[in-house]
Amino acid sequence: MSSPTTSAPEPPRYADRPEWSDVIPVEQYENVNPLAPIFYKDIYKDAADYFRGIVKTGEKSQRVLDLTERIIRLNPAHYTAWQYRYETLLAIEADLEDELRLMDELAITYLKTYQVWHHRRLLMLKIRKPATELVFIAKTFREDAKNYHTWSYRQWLLAYFNDDSLWSGELDFVDELLNADIRNNSAWHHRFFTVFQSGVRDGEQDTERILRRELIYVKQSISLAPNNASAWNYLRGILDHNGIPYSKMIAFVQPYTLPNDDQKADLVDLDNPPPSKDAHLPCAAAVEFLADIYEAEGGDSMLKATELWKSLGNEHDVARKKYWEYRIREGLRAIQT
């Protein structure tokens, strides 16, 4: 304990605090042979004993906030402590914005704990100030830009409060994240959510224009980094969503299916940006895309598709060799029947 590297000394146990002497601690009841028992640290056992004591009497007071905070810091997955804390906050009419500030700290410390984000959601239902929350979330992405709970919370905020000013910054926000990491699939997913799902605003029914903008965006991204499954999935996603056949993309996709030396000279074509000079080509995702186009055409084109699948299995995507063999069998069967 005297080592200079140890952090703050352990706080006193509730059993040793005179102001808690009126509470009767209640031990955890467990029958004789516990399964997977946890060898609790003294400080956790002490806090949990007092928590069971408090829950038994139903006390909801300021000191309950102190007690539940200690439990949460020792075990953030203790959902009952969170639940009781929330009920206490409401019962004593605590300042929920203070609580939110405490949560700012806990959210970063326990980024991966569901309860931290769920509690925030409950607070926000009362406080109803989502705009600053978006700023806070952006800050947590500096720790982990793919955290599932955080993204889910952001999507909930946007969809639940759903006002134009809240949505207005989302595309720039996604853009910033994709500039930092073009392979961040969570950001791509969020772009889809914003452009085609909950984020669709009144007056944006001009889907033609939006679709064109998104196609240019994703094609530009692919041209910068062709071997990026997230971008190809986004391209397929927006085509499917808008009922556009993949064949409309053939002029764009084809150059990506050829080796580097077969690339034609530069043509500035915004609709069909060519692969960057240092791209690793042919790109497996493009070959797969082109094969899907041929497969959909059927007939003689099916043979072109099977050639492409063969090249995936033998060269460009050997890890999935058996899968491509399966596609070849299915494709050939389709044209025989």
Partner: protein, 357 residues
């Protein structure tokens, strides 16, 4: 790049250290250090991963003493509680102040849907006869936990429950095992599943979320468990989901849970694809921890969750004959029921003895 790929195909599997993996989960069953205190509100699930691993390794009936099995069963039954929201199993005694059989639960010690699912499977592994099961109470619990949008919260009646596809899946397995779907509004639940589908072809944990391996497995299993003869997926949707899953396999042979993420052993189960077709067995081999137990990735510490799911993946997709290895027998497992996630014999036991209660 392609040379490393062919290495995977010729990979000579080392021994699967069955005894060491069993040792890892048995140690966890006898006690966990305080550093794992966050398991306190999920002990039943941990017990399932441990005892389930022993079951997949076929060690429960002959390698565990009958008195141990008896005392494990007693501990599990002690967690069955009933009260105003119905009956089910709680995660463990972390909020318990007395025997559960003598009084009803409070709002702070209710049963939990995910824990009820894991308790039923664990009791089936231990070949319990389920004579103590409160079936009617369980149907009431399911009803109490389903929300307007069709999803289920983990615990009834409070603000603290998580509601996502995992809980819905557990509610479906419980109904399937009870052979009684009257506790669930199935149509609403199916439309919740549909709302979790992403443009990538996989499913997110809840509405609007990014596609993820765990929840995609769960969505598929739930759709197949549903009793109504509906076909919620069109052939092209189905194909898109398969393609999404297939593309989660990485060069290492392992699987990742989301597009452009790193591999993790549990996704061999969740994404599955199939080890037979795709050769992911070598990835699991590389994740073996030398002191027993299987970790999420090579070089990391093992835990019962990743141990169970890796063994379950091997049970679901037996190795290809092409993997001739001197240690072949250590990789042989009995078939797994992929819908409820238990060894087939255990699943049959569960269906037979839970439904008659």
């Amino acid at each position: 790049m392609s040379s490393t790929i062919s290495d995977i195909y010729n990979f000579d599997l080392p021994q699967l250290t069955r005894i060491a993996h069993a040792g890892h989960v048995k140690r966890c069953l006898s006690g966990l250090p305080d550093s794992q205190v966050d398991v306190d509100s999920g002990r039943m699930a941990l017990a399932f991963y441990c005892i389930g691993s022993l079951d997949l390794l076929k060690m429960v009936q002959d390698k565990i003493s009958s008195s141990d099995r008896e005392s494990w069963r007693e501990w599990i039954w002690e967690q069955q509680t009933s009260g105003k929201y119905g009956a089910g199993f709680r995660p463990g005694p972390f909020m318990s102040t007395g025997p559960s059989s003598t009084s009803t639960y409070t709002d702070y010690d209710t049963p939990h849907i995910i824990m009820t699912y894991t308790a039923l499977l664990t009791l089936a592994i231990l070949r319990d006869d389920f004579s103590r099961l409160d079936k009617r109470g369980m149907l009431v619990l399911l009803k109490s936990c389903q929300r307007e949008d069709g999803s289920f919260s983990t615990v009834p009646g409070s603000v603290s429950g998580e509601t996502d596809l995992r809980t819905l899946y557990c509610a479906f397995v419980i109904s399937h095992l009870l052979n009684d779907w009257s506790g669930i509004n199935v149509d609403r639940a199916l439309s919740f599943i549909a709302s979790c589908r992403s443009y990538e072809g996989g499913y997110g944990q809840t509405t609007y979320c990014e596609a993820n391996g765990g929840t995609t497995y769960i969505a598929m299993a739930a759709i197949h468990l549903a009793p109504v003869p509906s076909v919620p997926l069109t052939p092209s949707e189905k194909r898109k989901t398969i393609e999404w899953a297939i593309h989660k396999q990485l060069q290492s042979g392992g699987f990742c849970g989301r597009t452009n993420k790193v591999a993790d052993a549990c996704y061999c189960f969740w994404i599955g694809g199939s080890l037979k077709i795709l050769g992911a067995a070598s990835f699991i081999a590389n994740c073996q921890f030398k002191f027993g137990g299987i970790a999420k990735a090579p070089g990391e510490h093992p835990d019962p969750y990743h141990t169970y799911l890796s063994l379950a993946a091997l049970s679901m997709f037996p190795l290809d004959d092409a993997h001739s290895t001197s240690f072949a027998s250590s990789w042989v497992f009995e078939p797994l029921d992929p819908l409820i996630n238990a060894r087939q014999e255990t699943a049959e036991w569960a269906r037979k003895y839970i439904a008659i209660r």
